[in-house]
């Protein structure tokens, strides 16, 4: 009975947020198009033959950046901005006195947005293949399934990191400024601009101790068929979620004690 109620809650949340996201379909299409930074990076890499230095063929590099684009599309997180606005405007107050943590609403918003974004991402991929016919490949079902799991885990890691930063709103009111500090390492160390394999060995050993390479690099390598340690990568993703979740809970409970319900 309890699990049925939870399932209904999840389903209704997703359904309502999906209906809401469909109202913003043009905006979401533009966001999807704005995420084509991996294709620019691909162009820079191939035009300068940079892939030779890391022993990746042109085709594999094309696939990597296409997969990086896909992973980014389905793991993009903006909860810090939504929560900051809602908390400063007092919109979070009604949610706080409901028997559901408000972050579930934001989580459902993100998932619904991903569903809305899916067809636009497919269209962009279609055009990518028209211009790069050599890159066309069909990943086997096992790899596809593991890649979807890995992308979802990447999304959860980013969601948890941003949620922790978002909770700092209870103290600083401008938590998004702190998120900006994380943007630079995310951009450079996640594999969005360059595969992590291209970094010097001693830098790589440090990067792999952070959550960043598991956000884009690992799932993109997995999906594109590049050599990667699947079980190690998935384990590290799960480990980061296990580490981040209690931090989020602690910051959340400490923060709500500080909440002043301003703006309402």
């Amino acid at each position: 009975m309890k699990s049925k109620l939870i399932l209904r809650k999840i389903f209704t949340l997703l359904k309502v947020q999906y209906s809401n996201m469909l109202e913003y379909r043009v905006e979401i299409a533009l966001w999807a198009i704005s995420g084509i930074i991996p294709f620019f990076m691909l162009n820079i890499w191939t035009n300068n033959n940079l892939n030779e230095s890391i022993n990746i063929s042109d085709v594999m590099l094309s696939r990597y950046f296409l997969c990086a684009f896909f992973v980014r599309q389905f793991s993009v997180v903006w909860v810090v901005f939504s929560f900051e606005e809602d908390s400063l405007m007092g919109k979070v107050s009604p949610y706080l006195i409901q028997p559901l943590n408000p972050f579930f609403r934001y989580l459902a918003q993100h998932l619904a947005e991903q569903i809305t974004r899916f067809p636009f991402a497919i269209i962009i991929a279609f055009f990518f293949f028209i211009f790069n016919p050599d890159s066309i490949w069909i990943p086997n079902l096992d790899i596809l399934f593991l890649s979807i799991i890995s992308t979802f885990l990447s999304f959860l890691i980013q969601f948890l990191i941003q949620s922790i930063v978002a909770c700092l709103c209870f103290w600083t009111e401008k938590a998004s400024a702190i998120e900006r500090l994380l943007f630079i390492p995310t951009l450079f160390l996640s594999g969005l601009l360059a595969p992590v394999a291209s970094f010097p060995k001693y830098v790589k050993s440090w990067i792999y101790l952070t959550p960043f390479p598991y956000l884009i690099d690992f799932p993109a390598n997995l999906l594109s068929g590049n050599t990667t340690n699947i079980s190690g990568g998935l384990s590290m993703q799960i480990l980061w979620i296990i580490l981040l979740f209690p931090v989020f809970r602690k910051v959340w409970f400490a923060g709500t004690k500080k909440y002043t319900a301003m703006g309402s």
Partner: protein, 331 residues
């Protein structure tokens, strides 16, 4: 005898507020060294509210009424004191407590702006673990009570303020809470919408025996809904008791305008011992203490030939206005 559902003892709440001196010097100083001071917005207040009571919180802007409601519903932490709301510590925000309360803020909304209200109702229903059948039943019942129909299927952004407020109420009441915290629920509504909302709240209270804590700057909300008021002045309670008693205390005398059939009757009435405010031909205005209104009217009707009588109620806004600027009312 109804039991206490809200029990507040020696409640205080302080906020840290950042301060800054004016001018460039102040700005630079503020940049390098932030200064803040602790302001006590609620000062050692105690009160009890019984199940089914409708209590109005009165006070000027910034007096602390809304802060009290926010503490009672568990939105903000108290600094000192103890609070029990239906046996729970509100700030713990336990599920069974949250399922029993609701907070409606006149100037804030929880409905999803771009979707019709019905979507938000279903969402709230699932959050409160109601199945679809029960949700539909409650939506039907509440929409009948609130007199909303087609509006349920129109995006919130297209609704008028009154329609939106009704929908907000429905969303906030779908889980049938026992305790309602209403912070200026009629803010910005026109006279008819205000009246309908008051009627609804009265009916809801009668049908469910729900406890209602209400703040409002519209005195009609308070006078038509609340028998008891708690006056808050600078974070302290300046009066807690029956509204009637307070009004009698502040305005103990009523004026009665009597229109006599003849001028002779008016002269006779003038000399019969009543306190006269003014007299013109056959019209005479007398001042009578509230406690003697009935007996005075009886005497006048039995002894004089009267054409018409008007009892002038003192303007309630003026009376309540006095409360907002004074510190203590001993009744």
């Amino acid at each position: 005898m109804n039991k206490n559902i809200i029990d507040v003892k020696n409640l205080s709440k302080s906020f840290n507020i950042a301060t800054k001196e004016p001018g460039l010097r102040g700005t630079i100083k503020h940049f390098f060294k932030r200064q803040s001071k602790s302001i006590k917005v609620i000062k050692d207040i105690s009160f009890e509210i019984k199940e089914g009571e409708i209590v109005g919180f009165l006070g000027a802007n910034g007096a602390g009424k809304t802060t009290i409601l926010k503490i009672l519903c568990g939105l903000i932490y108290p600094s000192e004191g103890s609070i029990l709301v239906s046996g729970n510590l509100p700030f713990k925000r336990k599920e069974n407590f949250l399922k029993n309360i609701t907070l409606i803020m006149g100037q804030k909304q929880q409905l999803i702006w771009d979707l019709p209200p019905i979507e938000s109702f279903y969402l709230n229903a699932s959050i409160y673990d109601l199945d679809k059948f029960e949700a539909n039943k409650r939506i039907k019942k509440l929409s009948d009570m609130l007199e909303i129909g087609d509006e349920l299927f129109i995006p919130v952004r297209k609704l008028s303020l009154g329609q939106r407020m009704k929908s907000e109420l429905l969303a906030a009441l779908i889980h049938e809470p026992n305790i309602l915290f209403l912070d200026e629920p009629t803010l910005g509504l026109d006279i008819n919408a205000q009246r309908n909302l008051r009627k609804f709240l009265q009916k809801y209270n009668q049908e469910t025996n729900a406890t209602i804590c209400l703040t409002s700057h519209y005195m009609k909300d308070i006078t038509s809904l609340c028998k008891r008021v708690i006056c808050v002045h600078n974070g302290s309670i300046s009066y807690d008791g029956k509204l009637d008693l307070l009004l009698n205390k502040l305005s103990p005398i009523k004026e009665i305008l009597i229109i006599c059939r003849t001028e002779e009757d008016a002269i006779k009435l003038e000399n019969s011992g009543f306190t006269i405010k003014n007299k013109t031909k056959n019209e005479i205005t007398i001042k009578v203490e509230n406690t003697f209104i009935t007996s005075s009217l009886k005497t006048i009707l039995n002894n004089f030939d009267i054409e018409d009588i008007y009892i002038n109620e003192p303007p309630i806004d003026e009376i309540i206005g006095k409360i907002l600027i004074q510190k203590d009312y001993e009744i």
